[in-house]
Symmetry: C2
Subunit: 210 residues, 2 copies
DNA sequence: CTACAATCCGACCGACCGTTCGTAAATATA
DNA sequence: TATATTTACGAACGGTCGGTCGGATTGTAG
């Protein structure tokens, strides 16, 4: 520790940087993220960052991991406490919305931001983000498949389609919520639609039996 | 015209710049857009751009207008040729997907990219983008309301919710399509879901009567 | 205490950014 | 044709960027 006590060495610095970088990345973008910005926000020198990551890109990849870890702890893990089946699938959706509405990250959804940012820019980062999305959809589809296996879906409801549906609602909610004027209207429409679709996809008589 | 014949003066330069800037903005982002990049792509000097727009921000705002004009001509106008009602609402969705799949803009959807880019960055541009989204949702909600007025929706289907739903499908399709590995899977899931939801929201017996 | 590796800093680099300026060419006006 | 205005250019400016380097500071092992 330095004389003024502000700085923390080693591993703790590393995690503090990642935490701060994730926050800033949701605002400025993952690529628009400035190393000086990160360093200044922590009272650390910019050149010191290169002792932990050999380039900006390496830090960016680490930030993606950080975002995934946060997502796991704050969204997925709590949702998995809900019993398997369609309840768990919708719990994931609910947790996702709650996480966003809690404004944990000031710039909204890191993954959505980063994905749109690197849409058309081939490279390691884009591939990693694509992998994240694939993993996420595999996870959602798995949950929907579980629900189908338990016979909790109305006949004719396709599990993959349902998973895609949950994802589309989530993405759209994340996109529109920051729009100040539009937020209340769309939040209302979203809830109405959500109720409707839950009724459409879930067989309530089956759920009541349990 | 200059001696080497490359350059075009006045209004034609202006529109050429906007066209090129829109293309580049979908790739590099609206803020990541570089004036040197635009100028070089057209064989024009960077400083010459300031004869048409007094700052980068002014050009960015003009690019938003350009994007809106393109969207109007390529998506909205053709869809409005379809008879009013639920058919027209879904025609808008279909045209939107078709426009995206035609890869007119290499970086995907300009508005989605720009919206996520400026999510958390207050200012004139963010406000303009928010206004665009509000206008768009008003437009969609109006179409859904028309369909409801014509009695084409199944009982219990909320028009605002339906409009939100069409939007969420569009946003999610635009987001996932560029992900190479995932695209076919999600395109398939999207079509299945789309068919299902059309069946859910539209009363086919009513449509058949016309 | 000594030695060594990890960590951190300030100074500095070249590249690129948006912007300005003086000037020249093209166009509009008379 | 003569004049005024718009449009375009090259050069240069201050500023920020990611990244490098030598040296100082720290924690740890011997």
């Amino acid at each position: 520790m330095t004389q003024d006590g502000r700085l923390i060495r080693g591993e703790r610095t590393r995690s503090a940087v990642l935490e701060q970088a994730l926050v800033l990345a949701t605002v400025s973008g993952l690529d628009g993220l400035s190393l000086s910005q990160v360093a200044d926000a922590l009272g650390v020198s910019k050149s010191g960052l290169f002792a932990h990551w050999r380039s900006k890109e390496a830090l960016q990849l680490a930030v993606i991991d950080q975002a995934r870890a946060q997502w796991r702890d704050r969204v997925i893990r709590p949702a998995l406490e809900v019993p398997a089946g369609v309840r768990r699938l919708w719990a994931v959706h609910d947790r996702r919305i709650a996480f966003y509405e809690a404004r944990v990250l000031p710039g909204g959804c890191f993954f959505a931001n980063a994905h749109f940012e690197f849409n058309a820019r081939p490279g390691v980062i884009r591939d990693r983000l694509a992998g994240e999305l694939t993993d996420w959809m595999t996870f959602l589809t798995g949950l929907a498949g579980e629900a189908a296996g338990l016979g909790e879906l109305r006949p004719g409801v396709d599990p993959a389609g349902l998973a895609y549906h949950v994802e589309s609602l989530g993405v759209c909610a994340v996109m529109q919520a920051p729009v100040v004027g539009a937020a209340p209207t769309y939040a209302q429409a979203r809830r109405q639609l959500l109720e409707h679709l839950r009724a459409v996809t879930i067989d309530p008589t089956i759920l009541e039996q349990k």
